[in-house]
């Protein structure tokens, strides 16, 4: 009964006050916080969704009894179905909800208006409101490390990049990779291949075959799953990179290193903020420095000096002494897009729709 009254008080306060969500410590919760996660795929995808479910587990382990067992809803399409799931979570007492796919944006904003006492966080999105925050991870920092390794090890100077759709996140990754590689080998090129799906492992594998057969010896990927890496291993090409998780079990020799999505720390911070009543809507975009993006162990093919060079790039991004998107940067036609010494802003990065020099652009 007390709990109910407390919740109602809180909802009432939220509705009455114009800015109820800032620092309302008075309503710190005693019941365990229920946290919901909405996923576009299944937690068994070895990639994006797996990363979020690991983050959820980490949050539970760190915060213990302060949070309830996290609720994960899988295979939620980007459309009205997601609106229903979000509402379902909000109605069933979840006070913090993570929507982890871009296409959920409109619906998060909509449902958030109906539930002012529930906090929403939308991954990779850009629309915010009083109780909707956005968060993302600077994966491009990890790709700069991978690109450095590739620049050193590639014999043909050609890399391929398997992506699903040319959205800014993917374009940014392609660009960061080749910018880093060209700092090592100025002739380095990268060919993005978009396969129009996030989950078709046989097609990812065939894309990797098509690349290796045509002189590409480094296969990077933005799609989830180890299929491309397995092909690199089987064909004995120079190597590839784990996406989202360490995939060395699938390609012990071919995985040069991996970019690990580590959402856990952010989920702990967000949940703790809700428990403390200090949560506020903001846009967070942490990266290597905060540990949200991690570089996995280096593979056996990567010699000490290359590891040192890669670590230097990693540490430079951690201490802020380097940013991969600092000019001069030309686009793929050779026209200067970023002047020397200028760094692209976050907003420019998040809407990136042009390729840098060294990218062989797709149709």
């Amino acid at each position: 009964m007390t709990l109910n009254r407390r919740t109602m008080l809180k909802a009432g306060a939220a509705a009455a006050a114009a800015i109820p969500l800032f620092g309302s410590k008075a309503f710190a919760q005693e019941e365990p916080l229920k946290v919901g996660f909405v996923l576009i795929g299944t937690v068994n995808d070895n990639g994006w969704n797996f990363g979020h479910s690991e983050g959820a587990k980490y949050m539970k382990a760190e915060l213990g009894d302060a949070v309830a067992e996290p609720t994960i809803v899988e295979n939620v399409p980007e459309g009205p179905d997601c609106e229903r799931v979000l509402r379902e979570l909000a109605q069933s007492g979840h006070k913090l909800i993570f929507a982890t796919s871009f296409g959920y944006g409109d619906y998060v904003i909509k449902v958030a208006q109906q539930f002012p006492d529930v906090r929403f966080e939308h991954a990779t999105g850009y629309q915010r409101s009083e109780n909707v925050g956005t968060y993302n991870a600077r994966f491009y920092e990890g790709r700069a490390v991978c690109g450095t390794v590739a620049g050193h090890l590639s014999q043909t100077g050609k890399a391929g990049y398997i992506g699903s759709f040319p959205i800014p996140e993917v374009v940014m990754g392609v660009n960061a990779f080749v910018l880093a590689a060209r700092k090592v080998n100025p002739d380095f090129t990268i060919t993005p291949v978009y396969i129009s799906t996030w989950n078709d492992p046989a097609r990812e594998a065939d894309a990797a075959r098509a690349m290796i057969d045509q002189g590409i010896d480094i296969v990077a990927q933005h799609t989830d799953g180890p299929a491309a890496l397995q092909v690199v291993e089987e064909r004995g090409a120079v190597g590839g990179f784990g996406q989202g998780a360490d995939m060395s079990a699938f390609a012990p020799n071919a995985q040069l290193t991996s970019i690990i999505d580590n959402w856990g720390p952010h989920y702990v911070l967000a949940a703790q903020a809700v428990i403390d009543g200090t949560w506020e809507s903001k846009d967070v975009w942490p990266g290597l420095k905060e540990g949200e993006v991690e570089i996995g162990p280096y593979g056996p093919k990567v010699p000490e000096d290359v590891i040192a060079a890669a670590e230097a790039v990693k540490n430079g991004q951690i201490d802020g002494s380097m940013h991969i998107f600092t000019g001069p940067i030309n686009d793929h036609t050779g026209t200067e897009r970023v002047a020397a010494g200028v760094t692209l802003t976050d907003a420019e990065l998040l809407s990136m729709d042009w390729y840098v020099e060294g990218v062989i652009p797709p149709a």
């Binding site: 919901g36 299944t42 067992e69 609720t71 994960i72 809803v73 899988e74 295979n75 939620v76 399409p77 980007e78 459309g79 009205p80 179905d81 609106e83 229903r84 799931v85 509402r87 379902e88 979570l89 109605q91 069933s92 979840h94 871009f102 296409g103 409109d106 850009y126 759709f165 040319p166 959205i167 800014p168 374009v171 129009s196 998040l350 809407s351 990136m352 729709d353």
Partner: protein, 360 residues
């Protein structure tokens, strides 16, 4: 002791209504047992999937919104299937209806006027009907099987969405993501009850079903559809043209699928996105059969399927039953429902062996 099936002279009315109920009940019992045996909370799963969606007003709204497109498409398909015309490409017609409505919404972007939404709906209906006219033309002119052409065209339409939202129709302010602009206010389907999520598509679905029921049971058109479907040769003597029936069946089912597409894109979606094809067109095939190809039955079928979708998500949030498990539940229910069909047309007779021998 032996059993044999004996054909009924008339389809059993009692079984027509009883079998869907029995099928749902059987799914609950068998599902609970099997899922308990393999280590899930079987009883909890049944409770969450089948009952929780019915427990509160919010869920009723969800059911209505989810069922509306299924009912609209399902009604169209039930008419076509009655005429023995097997349009299984409603998904593609739904997509083309949505694209046609989107086209109007983008042309009129920034404008206002009461006429925009009706124009989108008309465009959607036309888009769906036009896309269905391809299988109709091929079937009537060249005798090409409409099951196959309508299915193939569905995949083509999905690629068309991908292309349009990636290139010509991409939202200039959308941070480069493949989707169109959000439609202007007058291109959005209004909610009929303030404070709810129930949009105008829900009553439209009911009206469509009622009108279709009336037309099918009371008009010459309905009679023609049924006669041509049941006995094409007899129909020819009766002066009903088979080709005309095929055209009508495909145009009506395509138009209704297109209507559903226009309502979905202007209502729940509010913009065209790559995720627009959500299998409503395929699910509606199942809905049409659950409804025994009767427009009123389709309302029931649409709601039952909507319950399992909504309930499946409830089960994920409340007891952590995985999405895969709810898929198995759904399939099991469909199997039972389809199996129940036979009891409508046949009766099970217990026969004494001697009699059976004497008969054969």
């Amino acid at each position: 002791m032996q059993f044999r099936l004996e054909k009924r002279r008339e389809p059993s009315k009692a079984m027509l209504y009883a079998t869907p109920v029995v099928a749902v009940l059987l799914t609950m019992v068998v599902g609970a047992i099997i899922f308990s045996l393999i280590g899930f909370d079987g009883i909890g799963a049944v409770r969450e999937i089948f009952f929780t969606p019915l427990t509160n007003a919010y869920k009723w709204q969800d059911l209505g919104v989810k069922a509306a497109p299924l009912i609209i498409i399902g009604v169209g398909l039930s008419i076509a299937y009655r005429a023995n015309v097997w349009n299984i490409g409603a998904e593609g017609q739904y997509v083309m209806g949505g694209l046609a409505a989107t086209w109007i919404a983008l042309l009129t972007y920034g404008m206002s006027g009461w006429w925009i939404l009706p124009l989108m709906v008309v465009a959607g209906i036309a888009g769906g009907a036009l896309y269905a006219s391809i299988p109709a033309l091929l079937r009537t002119r060249l005798n090409v099987n409409e099951i196959l052409t309508s299915l193939m065209l569905t995949y083509v339409s999905v690629q068309l969405i991908y292309y349009l939202v990636r290139a010509p129709w991409k939202d200039p302010m959308g941070m480069g993501f493949p989707q169109t602009r959000r439609f202007s206010a007058d291109a959005l389907l209004p909610n009929i009850f303030p404070g709810t999520i129930v949009h105008a598509g829900v009553p439209i679905a009911i009206v469509v079903a009622l009108v279709a029921w009336f037309v099918m049971s009371r008009s010459v058109f309905g009679y023609q559809m049924k006669v041509v479907g049941a006995a094409p040769h007899a129909a020819r003597y009766g002066g009903f043209s088979e080709n005309k029936t095929i055209w009508l069946a495909l145009l009506v089912s395509g138009a209704l699928a297109g209507l559903a597409g226009a309502l979905e894109v202007s209502g729940p979606f509010q913009r065209m996105v790559p995720g627009f094809p959500t299998n409503y067109g395929f699910t509606a095939i199942i809905v049409a059969f659950l409804g025994r190809l009767n427009p009123l039955g389709v309302i029931f079928g649409g709601i039952v399927i909507a319950i399992t979708f909504v309930g499946g998500e409830v089960a994920q949030t409340s007891i952590g039953l995985s999405n895969a498990a709810t898929g198995v539940f759904q399939a099991m229910m469909l199997f039972f429902l389809l199996a129940g069909d036979i009891l409508v047309r046949y009766r099970i007779r217990r026969v004494v062996p001697q009699t059976a021998e004497a008969r054969s």
